[in-house]
Amino acid sequence: MSVTSLAAAAPAATLARLLARHRGAIIAAIVFALLLLVVDLVSAGQLTYFDISFLSSGGATSALAAIGQTLVILSGGFDLSAGAVISLVNVVLANGMDPMATGTSVALWTLAGIGVGMLVGAFNGFFIAVLRMQPIVVTLSTMFILQGVTLLVMDKPGGFVSPDLGAFYLGDAIAGWIPMPLVVIGVVLLGWFWLKGTRFGTALYAVGSDPDAAASVGVRVVLVRFLVYVIAGGCYGLAGVFISAQTGSGDPLVGNPLLLSMFAAVVVGGTRLGGGQGGPVGTVFGAYILMMVVNILLVLNVSAYYSTIAEGTILILAVLAGSLSHDSVLARQLRALRARLAAWRAGMLPSQIDRTDRRLGIARGSAGEQQVPQPAFHVRNAETLRYALPAYVCLAIVVIVTQIWLGRAIANFGYWNSLFVLSSFLAILALGQGSVILTGGLDLSVPWMIGLSGILLAGMVNGSDAALAYALPAVLAVACLIGLANGIGVVFLGISPIVMTLATNGILQGFALLYSQGTPAGFSSPMLRWFMTGKVFAITPVVLFMIAFVVFAVLLLGRTAFGRRVYGIGNSLRAAQLSGIAVGRTLILVYVLSAVCAALVGIMLTGFSGQASLGMGDDYLLPSIAVVVVGGALITGGRGHYLGMLGGVLLLTALQMLLAGTTLPYATRAILFGLVVLGAVMALRERRIQ
């Protein structure tokens, strides 16, 4: 009896371990099945093979691309060029195929697409792995460069993709049973399973978990990282081939909007941002969950204004469903709360114990040691200078080039005034986004936080200066609440910052539409407009405000307990917790700060334009991240100085002003912009792993 139970226990334990290891993927699969069930229940007819077939082709592009992104994220990286690669492959195929030729070779063009993707991956990999530059800046630059190249290949939608490609990729593998898209994804996943079993697969997880440790045990970190970007590039390339087959033509903008939902797919699929945990199987389900939302909104007949709200809510619920377990953040927070309550009852809370000094009596250093002279400024701040200075050096170069090329820059006061006015938006966003990034998070709710604040303010103010007195605090209070919601989601519900803020962004968009009924009313008051566009002795008032803001930001991050806590959390969450930092409270405050900064920008933009419009914040998300990183901050948190970020802001703005003054075509400008950013951050290379 006991022998049999023992024998039964071993496989049970293995099963439990398997389940635990693949929890993310399993839960994503369950959520997907539930959603499928809902669609099946609600839609008129039975779920037929045709439904499955078109569903499988609908999600295939994002699933394939997200598999590539998953590998990059597993290795601890980040790839913003994924969407641009898809567009590029699409136009290359649509441009290269000859409409007259018969019998197009599917294999050949598929290889061409994958090849283009891998080339881009090798470009990314070279800068990230060999030159040890931050993935987010490299891939952001690549994204701009590729967008330019794509427009050079094809400047408007058109071209021709052979129907043979469509017939192959959208057809049936086994007629009536298995649609081809599922087979394609299956083949890629099989490739992954093989890869995972090789030494490369182990090395991939090792590098993602801890690159230093991986290097110490002899893993060739540089090679692994390089190959990861090449393989991922191949996946994006295949996604590009698939979308070409699906659409039968080329469109230079087709891939770009896939980027953000790709990250959501990865996270919903149970892969942890920052690396080392998860896998592509969950991602595939994640991608299909996000695709299914379209069908669910349709069958539930969610009206247009509510659709982004519903989408955001579904995203949060899908992720929350994955965290319903004993060791989820939510469960842990609840247990901690219970423990705290018990401690309070027992009178054991630190605040309830009498305040005698219990510090250990460590002997103070001898008088002689105190005489050591303080090192010089540049020695004390060597680290900060090393990361912050390159942006300023590049800024100087850009200004000089502007002077030579366009004239009227250095000696022209108006140039500097414009530079500062145009920089003020990003300078303020940089504090909010920068603080979030310093803690290791990311705030994607910036665009519609800006939009909603602008619309709320314009509606309340409606041209009256007096109304500004209550409208300003009201809008900032709303921003605090939204930041609070973001923070609570991240801290107490344990939702990944990317997913939480992405969902919030959608929900805010819905609110903005509902509030304005699609037509934002009201306009800025004269005083606000004067603040943004008027002149006091040739200086626009907002420039003075910006100077004050910079001083405030430097003091906040550098000289306050809050600032020290932010850096502490970013360097090591665990160490911060153990040192008694109120991690939760600090994180929530950081998200509140980011929301308030975004709201300020919304208010300023309303003053600058004279009115608020829907979508006015759309162009500020990626730049807000870029300036923080160009200014020397580490995307994984803990390192960066506000003055460095400010340098990044000024550099990017000056560069845009230079390009705007020329009559170069947009495609060339995008390529130049990407190259300059890439060049500017060459100096920010990581130190070689010892």
Partner: protein
């Protein structure tokens, strides 16, 4: 805890499902099931167009014929493909689309046509031959506005061009047509070119960047897809008098239209710069009523009437000679020739004022503002 709550969630979803099913079943009796697939609802033009479609569907002549469902696909062509497929599955008789891409939807639209669904695209084009298209001639828009500007400048001068969203057919057609006109006049020089993304806010930042290294005195005229209202405001801020404003060929926003009225005109609710300035302008637009008209044509097609595959809308062009203020903005009033609305009625100057069509007496100003049809 896990299983229990999952079961509850399932029960809840199932409950929602039953409700939704019950509703749609009861509604469908005797009305044409029409879906609207919008691309992206996050800008002024799209929201205005959506309001007008809603108003059209709820007009008393339509309400018994149409069961309209509006869905948003976002900016992602992939999702629009999926959405259109799902609409076909859900039994659509007609689908009205704002196409995200003129080419990417071809396959799915063809598939829909084969199932007998009528597909109508508005504003932008779908190149698949079985689709019905309702839009203006974008090349004509570029050409007419450029010719006006050349004439206004007597064939010589420095101009700034602000384009739309790069990589779209609409932007490409307009810009190329305009540049062809400018190329015929060697004394017209484009000294600055910026990407305006069809947004007043972007036009403002881009113009500020250009003017950081240039002064208004070096510029003689502006050709903009969107942004004349903003450009005029910036010239006033820079100290120009309203009589010195540069000629500007651009979009049909209400703010720009009000600025075109002769200076000193009494207009309720006007405050500078959203006020009559006598600004030299030509104002054109891709009219936001095209979606509502597409819906109307779709119903006609379903009723068996003959509808042309291509409906080219007349280009709404307003110049200083033809500008006229509306009193209330009813369709009848616009039919009599008015084309600008009081700021007291339309407080957003970026709002698109080209809402009049001969063919849509069902919708007027209230339709565009709040989705309310005419009596």
């Amino acid at each position: 805890m896990g299983i229990g709550s999952k079961a509850r969630r399932l029960a809840l979803l199932a409950g929602m499902a039953v409700c939704a099913f019950g509703m749609s079943g009861a509604e469908a009796a005797g009305r044409h099931k029409i879906f609207l697939s919008m691309s992206f609802i996050g800008n002024d033009w799209q929201a205005e167009a959506a309001n007008m479609v809603k108003a059209m569907a709820s007009h008393k002549s339509m309400v018994d014929k149409v069961d309209l469902q509006v869905q948003v696909a976002g900016p992602n062509a992939q999702r629009q493909i999926q959405q259109i497929n799902a609409m076909v599955q859900a039994g659509a008789e007609a689908i009205v689309i704002f196409p995200i891409s003129p080419t990417a939807l071809n396959q799915v639209v063809k598939n829909a046509c084969e199932k007998g669904v009528k597909v109508f695209a508005y504003d932008a084009e779908i190149t698949e031959p079985c689709a019905y298209n309702v839009h203006i001639d974008q090349e004509e828009a570029g050409r007419v506005t450029a010719e006006w500007l050349v004439k206004k400048l007597n064939g010589r001068g420095n101009i700034i061009a602000v384009t739309g969203v790069p990589g779209t057919s609409v932007d490409d057609l307009r810009t190329k047509a305009a540049k062809e006109v400018f190329a015929k006049h060697p004394d017209i020089k484009i000294v600055g070119e910026a990407v305006g993304m069809w947004s007043q806010a972007v036009a403002r930042t881009e113009l500020s960047k250009i003017l950081a290294t240039r002064s208004w005195d070096d510029i003689n005229g502006l050709w903009m897809q969107v942004g004349c209202f903003t450009a005029n405001s910036m010239q006033l801020e820079a100290g120009k008098k309203s009589s010195e404003l540069l000629p500007c060929a651009g979009e049909g926003s209400n703010g720009g239209r009000i600025q075109m009225l002769p200076e000193g005109t009494e207009v309720e609710g006007a405050t500078s710069p959203y006020a009559p300035l006598g600004a030299p302008r030509i104002s054109y637009a891709s009219p936001p009523y095209s979606g509502a008209l597409a819906l109307k044509l779709a119903v006609e097609a379903l009723e068996g009437k003959d509808v042309a595959k291509k409906t080219i809308l007349p280009l709404p062009v307003v110049t200083n000679e033809t500008i006229k203020l509306c009193d209330e903005g009813t369709w009848a009033e616009m039919k009599a020739g008015c084309n600008a609305f009081k700021p007291s009625l339309v407080s957003n100057p970026g709002w698109f004022a080209s809402i009049f069509s001969d063919q849509t007496p069902e919708i007027g100003l209230a339709a565009a503002l709040v989705g309310q049809p005419e009596e």
